[in-house]
Subunit: 235 residues, 2 copies
């Protein structure tokens, strides 16, 4: 937790916020904060700044908050991810958020097991929690948008053309002739397949709406590793 | 497990290997392999190829093995990592291995908690297991070398100059004037600090032996995310 996220409801006065629960426990036990300490804080979807601890006991921490800086800029990147295994999903959401991805679409694909959609980790609360962890990690305050699409074809045909408009649309595909470009200038939409890859008809649907298949090298990487490596390469 | 790693002791005849334990369970339950199926296999530190399943029951799987291709090339990258938290360590080892890092040095730093060195995850067996998982993920067979250094200064002063010789030596440091370079040509030694960063004297020791401090952007990333993003950027 490199930044403590504050929510409007934490404010008991315009510049005074009160923490309880997970954030209080973390500040007390991991940061070992004391009265007078200055903590890095940020208002969800707002500026970042400093909180000076003015009260600290078992149940509550209060701080005087000064918010002055904008959060770090987002990457001009929209991720279209075949829904990963539940165990991987949490890490992908937190790490993509920490990297500054602007928008995430989790979609179905032939090689996505149906059970993944029914995992408890797909609960709205968890999808939010993982993204909040990513913000706290990266000192950011702006959640990436997250959208779920249970049906591949309607999403690709009806919605994806609008999403990719004005962006470089790339789909990772082992064995593609073109290697993934580097250091692109403008916005990018990047589609990353399931562990077993896209099937031929999925790849056709994606190229039909303008995606260029790009090769990511001879190594098959886990989704969260692949996303981070691609972000490093593209931006 | 995109590649099944074989060890010399698996071979009951020159081209016949026998699996048991974790690999058997995985091939049976996840790959749902049947007799006649062709599996991607590789010999530890050797070539990769195909194994045709010739026998499969509760306790044992046998395959006819043909090994023909070299494993994917390694990156010319040596990582010098301040020992991360045990929970993070496993993921860093597996993902750095999957990315093709050639050599990993885990070192001490002021902000590395002493308890990390005593974690059960530091057992030789686990350090090997995580790297094997990375090889299986990336269809590689060659383990990255792994070295542990409990003392920062002797390692940096006595050993690091030899390690960095002929390489571009970079140390990640938030706020450094120079941004991390892109698409380098030759070999790189990359030092990544602990979660709280390097202290001033550590940074001085590293620059004294030729490391250039480079900034990695305004976002603080978890070690495994940072390493993957840096690999994408550098190579």
């Amino acid at each position: 937790m490199n930044l403590i996220l504050l929510f409007p409801e934490d404010f008991v006065e315009p510049h005074r916020a009160r923490l309880a629960g997970r954030r209080l426990a973390h500040v007390r036990d991991t940061h070992r904060a004391a009265i007078g300490d200055a903590l890095t804080v940020g208002l969800l979807a707002g500026p970042i700044g400093t909180g000076i601890v003015t009260r600290l006991d078992e149940d509550v921490l209060e701080m005087e908050v000064t918010l002055i800086q904008p959060p770090p800029p987002k990457l001009p990147l929209t991720l279209v991810l075949a829904l990963p295994r539940p165990k991987v999903l949490n890490r992908v959401l937190a790490s993509a958020t920490s990297l500054g991805v602007r928008q995430i679409h989790l979609i179905n694909a032939w090689k996505v097991e149906k059970s993944y959609w029914k995992s408890p980790r797909m609960a709205e609360e968890n999808l939010m929690h993982q993204r909040l962890l990513g913000l706290e990690q990266a000192k950011d305050t702006v959640l990436p948008e997250l959208h779920l699409h249970r049906l591949f074809r309607p999403f690709v045909e009806d919605q994806l053309p609008g999403i990719t408009q004005g962006t470089l649309a790339l789909v990772g595909h082992p064995g593609a002739v073109e290697p993934c470009p580097r250091q692109t200038e403008g916005p990018v939409t990047l589609a990353v397949g399931p562990e077993g890859g896209w099937i031929a008809s999925e790849l056709e649907s994606l190229t039909a709406v303008g995606f260029r298949p790009v090769d990511l090298g001879p190594r098959i990487l886990r989704t969260e590793t692949a996303v981070a490596a691609l972000v490093g390469r593209l931006f």
